[in-house]
């Protein structure tokens, strides 16, 4: 043990978190020293965004590096870079949405920013963690902040209910997750990802029942966070109850971070052998069922919804199903190249999902005119004539979510199903396609309302500049990164290769 416990490089790796922490404290400090007087929201958001940008810059500048830090409990690699960037992008945009939003621009905005940045720190930990217990810590940090954020919506009683539900179920799932970790610890002797994955083959061969159970419970813990069926039930309720910017944040950043953690668990320990636990057909079938049911339930339930946020919640469930297909492919693939290709696809899909979801929620943010207003699809009527730009942007995003080329949503699905078919997971691909058709139906409904229905009188557009910007930017990005998906994919795939 000649290496020091903590090296300078270790600190460099976690520097983005410190940047976030530092910046998150400033507005709160100002408030405290100013006699509990809320600073100007604009100042607050600038500080917060600054933190995000600095963190993003730091992460990006470290890209290409592979480093294992803090006694192998933190790992910094390409996947971490991508995960961090996704988290920071969605966090940054969510901050912008929050700045504009009716429910969050009140007197507690500095606290809100503090919590959002804190949650992002937790996510960064999740993304970089190399140890299940660290992952647990990260998840808890992220979640605890979110519980409060959900509850913080001003004067909105439903948000309290949502927060409490989210809290109880979240803690419940955390306990399950933790129990799983404990069982893994007991059977493997360590909670470090590489150690666990290295021993998978051996333990599976022994039919170590505790290991089976532990793994199952860990998977359930993750599945809860990304709302995989049947651990999804909180999603629509919480998405509806939370204020829209927070919902956007939850839908994108949480999902991105958690899926990275899942990928780490599913990865191959040894490039030469197929060592993921998906080699065990039972796990494969369990996960396949979860994926298929999520795709099915998410899409099918959304068909009958009218509340736009709930639609997006169900859409989020189904997208988790699609992502799980990618994850399964990554774990199932025999050759390490295929596995990495599937990992790339998952990251790419996350990227596309983040863009589209942020865009969709921004539109909701613009249209929600007062506290507690629950936006339905019918409220969109006549938007096309009121604001062609916003309507066009949302239409692009909806088509992208439905997977119509040449948007990024199409290419994400294309590469995802491609990866699945390459591994002969035809049924997963087939169900993916079939449920996509169902999805088309409800993704088209907002478009129908905006363009084809009679205009409604009550349409009020708030002049939320940052939110509008977010919507338009994401829509444009949806097209541009769709057409230029190749550079993005290559970029991701190169950075994923640093894992080796």
């Amino acid at each position: 043990m000649t290496t020091p416990l903590v090296s300078l490089k270790d600190m460099l790796v976690v520097a983005p978190m410190f940047a976030l922490l530092f910046m998150s404290l400033i507005p709160v400090m100002i408030k405290v020293f100013n006699g509990n007087k809320e600073p100007k929201p604009f100042v607050t958001v600038v500080y917060a965004l600054l933190g995000v940008i600095v963190a993003g810059g730091l992460t990006a500048s470290l890209a290409g590096m592979k480093h294992v830090a803090f006694s192998e409990s933190i790992v910094f690699d390409g996947m971490a870079v991508w995960g961090s960037l996704l988290v920071l992008i969605s966090g940054g945009f969510s901050l912008m949405l929050a700045y504009d939003h009716v429910e969050t621009d009140g007197r507690q905005f500095s606290e809100q920013c503090f919590l959002m940045l804190g949650s992002m720190i937790g996510m960064l930990i999740v993304v970089m963690s190399n140890d299940l217990i660290v992952t647990f810590l990260g998840i808890e940090m992220m979640s605890l902040c979110l519980y409060i954020l959900v509850a913080m919506s001003r004067e909105h009683t439903l948000s309290k209910e949502a927060a409490f539900k989210y809290f109880v179920l979240g803690s419940f799932a955390s306990a399950v997750f933790l129990y799983g970790i404990a069982l893994l610890y007991g059977t493997v002797g360590s909670t470090q990802n590489p150690v666990v994955t290295a021993k998978v083959a051996e333990l599976l061969a022994n039919h170590n029942q505790l290991f089976y159970l532990g793994l199952a419970m860990v998977i359930i813990g993750f599945a809860f966070k990304v709302s995989i069926f049947p651990f999804h039930a909180w999603t629509p309720d919480v998405y509806q109850g939370a204020s829209t910017p927070i919902t956007a944040f939850m839908a994108t950043a949480v999902k991105a971070a958690t899926f990275i953690a899942i990928l780490r668990l599913f990865q191959h320990a040894d490039p030469a052998t197929r060592s993921s636990f998906l080699a065990e057909p039972k796990f494969l079938s369990v996960l396949s069922w979860l994926a298929v049911l999520s795709m099915l339930l998410g899409n099918v339930a959304a068909v009958m919804q009218n509340n736009f946020k709930r639609i997006l919640a169900y859409s989020s469930i189904s997208h988790s199903g699609y992502l799980l297909v990618g994850v399964i492919t990554a774990g199932f693939a025999e050759r390490i190249e295929s596995s990495l290709a599937a990992t790339t696809v998952v990251l790419f899909y996350l990227f596309s999902y983040t863009l589209m979801t942020l865009g969709a929620f921004s539109l909701i943010g613009i249209l929600e005119k007062q506290v507690g207003h629950s936006l339905t699809v019918d409220d969109l009527k006549g938007l096309a004539s009121r604001s062609p730009v916003l309507a066009g942007a949302l239409a692009i995003i909806m088509f992208s979510l439905a997977g119509v080329p040449p948007t990024i949503g199409f290419f994400a699905k294309f590469s995802l199903f491609g990866a699945a078919i390459e591994q002969n997971l035809y049924w997963l691909a087939f169900w993916g396609v079939m449920t996509s058709v169902v999805a088309v139906f409800y993704y088209l409904r907002p478009v129908v309302a905006m363009y084809m229905a009679e205009a409604s009188e009550t349409l009020v557009l708030r002049p939320a500049v940052l939110t509008r910007m977010t919507l338009v930017l994401t829509a444009i990005a949806t097209i541009i990164f769709g057409l230029a998906s190749s550079p993005v994919l290559e970029f991701v795939s190169e950075s994923v290769l640093t894992r080796l």
């Binding site: 409490f164 539900k165 109880v168 179920l169 419940f172 799932a173 399950v176 029942q209 089976y212 159970l213 199952a216 419970m217 359930i220 809860f224 049947p230 651990f231 039930a233 909180w234 629509p236 309720d237 039972k282 796990f283 079938s285 369990v286 099915l296 339930l297 099918v300 339930a301 959304a302 068909v303 009958m304 919804q305 169902v438 139906f441």
Partner: protein
């Protein structure tokens, strides 16, 4: 002159006439329009004569062929735009352009009061162009182009007075019925093409030359022949596709004369004669042709007896005469068929024009019950009509006698013939004589049955009279082109059968010996003429001498009378059994397959998805503990599955 040039004139003259009159379709100047159209056809006629002249002479070619450009060339199918005048088409082209010119001329007077004479003449010219395509086309496809083209013009001209729904319907009926035939024709073309690899008449004939005669029904040539005959049935109004022709009388009368008597309807006969070397190889097909022809001849003639519309009588007469022609084809007497085609063109055109003159004179009255005694008002029309009448009932030496008699004789004597066919022919001829005499009697003779104070029939103007006279002359002498040998021998100078000689190289003859002797021929000739004569006399006595007798007979045989008067209820049968079920069946099909099945299936899927969606929503009770329960159940199931395997899991659910 160059053949290419002459053919171009021949074909393009009517087309140009069509275009000129078509472009000035709003004009009401009937004289100008008529002159243009008539002139165009006359030019065509002259060009035709000039081309046909090339066929005469010692070292004259057997055919004059010109080729302009490739129309279609796909794979092995090469269709040039090529035309030919040989000994068969020469006859036809002269008849069509000649009679066509006369009818155009007649039309000028006839259409003088119409609102849209330019349009009428345009259509008429266009018809002639298509008819020429049909006749002159060197291959089946080009013939088919003309074949459909004449059908189209027929449609337009039948429905010329389209404001009348009945007339528009008649046009449609004609087109659709023809289309059924055309579909058969198409199949015939396909069969021939895949059998012989060509659609050119010349090549078809040279390729089938060495082929053996087909026995049985399923040989390709038999099939092709039958398919083509379906086409001929449609165009030439044979059972069961004859129904359009009587309705086609809705068109202007000159149209009936030109299209529905003299030219277009004979296209089927022409086509079979043209392909006689092919048909002759399929005796079974020829039997079908003969039987259908004979049946039509009798069937239509019997209907003709009871009709009261002057044009309808003539129409059924046309159907019946066409039946004679097919009878001739069917017994292998293609020359006789051509002969009858030509003479029929003369006398039937004459009679239609005559009836046009009558109708014109009677102010659009067509019911012969309201005529009578027109002889004194319309002397020229009457005189010419009489010529036609004598010709059609087959009194020597008028044209009809020679051609009809040749058919009857061949039906009896040809190797493909049969006594039954001959008998049917004689019955048909007798009926013809009867209803034609009846027509004459009711229209021209006896006492006028119209109000002579109100209606003042007047004789036709010269433009209408001249065609009548010319056609009357032709009807009188036209038969001399085909004097039977038995008669020729006893005549001074021993004139041979010119027509037979002329066609000899172009048409096929059935293999085998003809049975029957010259004496037999004389006897049969005598029988048929006398039966026809008797029938005519009977009719004369019925309708002129004792005008009450028909009613008595009708009362005595009510069933037969009703059957005949209602044209054997064929139209009703078609309507009730085919058209109505088709329409209501289609509605049901639409309602059942599209609306109730395919769309329903789509809806069922949609509703299923929706139902699933609703179910999924009911899972979302809002009860947090229930959500936790889902998680717990999932954990439990996963445990059982992972530790015990799928079987245990299934047992849990009672499986």
């Amino acid at each position: 002159m160059q053949a290419e040039f002459l053919f171009a004139i021949l074909l393009l003259a009517p087309l140009i006439g069509f275009i000129i009159n078509g472009l000035r379709w709003k004009s009401k100047n009937y004289l100008l329009a008529g002159s243009i159209a008539t002139g165009a056809v006359a030019i065509s006629f002259i060009a035709a004569v000039l081309v046909v002249m090339k066929l005469f002479g010692a070292d004259a070619p057997k055919a004059v062929t010109v080729e302009y450009f490739k129309w279609m060339a796909v794979g092995g199918l090469e269709v040039p735009v090529a035309f030919v005048i040989d000994h068969i088409s020469a006859l036809m082209v002269l008849v069509v352009t000649g009679v066509g010119t006369l009818i155009h001329l007649f039309s000028i007077g006839y259409m003088s009061h119409d609102e849209r004479p330019s349009k009428y003449f345009a259509y008429l010219n266009f018809f002639l162009f298509n008819m020429l395509l049909l006749i002159l086309g060197e291959n089946l496809l080009l013939m088919f182009v003309g074949w459909e083209g004449v059908g189209l013009c027929s449609y337009l001209l039948i429905g010329f007075w389209f404001s009348d729904k009945e007339k528009a319907a008649a046009g449609m009926k004609a087109f659709v019925t023809n289309r059924i035939g055309d579909a058969g024709f198409l199949l015939g073309i396909f069969t021939i093409f895949f059998l012989l690899g060509t659609v050119s008449f010349d090549e078809i004939i040279s390729k089938v030359a060495g082929m053996p005669v087909e026995v049985g029904w399923s040989g390709p040539i038999t099939l092709a022949a039958l398919f083509l005959f379906i086409g001929a049935m449609g165009k030439s109004a044979q059972i069961p596709l004859y129904v359009w022709l009587p309705d086609a009388m809705a068109g202007p009368t000159p149209v009936s004369a030109l299209i529905h008597a003299a030219t277009m309807v004979t296209a089927g006969v022409y086509m079979i004669v043209r392909l006689s070397p092919l048909f002759i190889l399929a005796p079974n097909a020829l039997h079908v042709v003969a039987v259908v022809g004979a049946a039509t001849a009798v069937f239509a003639a019997t209907i003709g007896i009871t009709q009261f519309d002057i044009k309808k009588v003539l129409a059924y007469s046309t159907v019946s005469q066409l039946g004679f022609m097919f009878l001739a084809c069917g017994v292998g007497a293609f020359g006789a068929a051509m002969f009858h085609l030509v003479t029929h063109a003369f006398f039937k055109a004459l009679m239609f024009l005559g009836s046009g003159s009558v109708i014109h004179a009677m102010h659009e009255e067509q019911d012969i019950r309201k005529m009578g005694g027109l002889k004194k008002y319309l002397p020229i029309t009457h005189a010419t009509f009489v010529v036609g009448w004598i010709a059609i009932i087959g009194i020597p030496p008028f044209a009809g006698f020679f051609s009809k008699d040749e058919i009857l004789w061949k039906a009896f004597s040809s190797p493909l013939g049969h006594k039954g066919l001959w008998a049917a022919g004689v019955i048909g001829a007798a009926c013809t004589a009867f209803y034609m005499t009846r027509l004459m009697a009711l229209t021209f003779w006896g006492k006028p049955r119209f109000d002579e104070h109100k209606t003042h029939p007047h004789e036709a103007p010269p433009s209408m009279a001249i065609p009548l006279i010319v056609l009357a002359i032709l009807s009188a002498i036209g038969g001399f082109m085909g004097i039977p040998h038995v008669i020729g021998e006893i005549l001074p100078g021993h004139p041979g059968n010119w027509l037979e000689h002329w066609l000899a190289g172009s048409i096929a003859a059935p293999a085998g010996e003809a049975h029957g002797s010259a004496i037999m021929e004389w006897i049969l000739m005598g029988i048929s003429v006398s039966i026809a004569g008797l029938a005519a006399l009977l009719a004369f006595s019925f309708y002129v001498i004792e005008p009450d007798r028909p009613k008595q007979w009708a009362a005595r045989l009510p069933g037969l009378h009703r059957l005949l008067e209602n044209k054997y209820f064929v139209d009703e049968f078609y309507f009730e059994r085919i058209i109505n079920p088709l329409v209501s069946g289609s509605k049901a099909l639409w309602a059942f397959v599209d609306v109730n099945f395919i769309d329903r299936a789509t809806f069922v899927v949609g509703d299923f998805v929706r139902g699933m969606g609703s179910t999924a929503r009911t899972l979302q009770t809002g009860n947090m503990q229930q959500y936790a329960l889902y998680i717990s159940i999932a954990i439990a199931l996963m445990f059982v599955y992972l530790l015990e395997g799928p079987k245990r899991l299934a047992e849990l659910f009672g499986g």
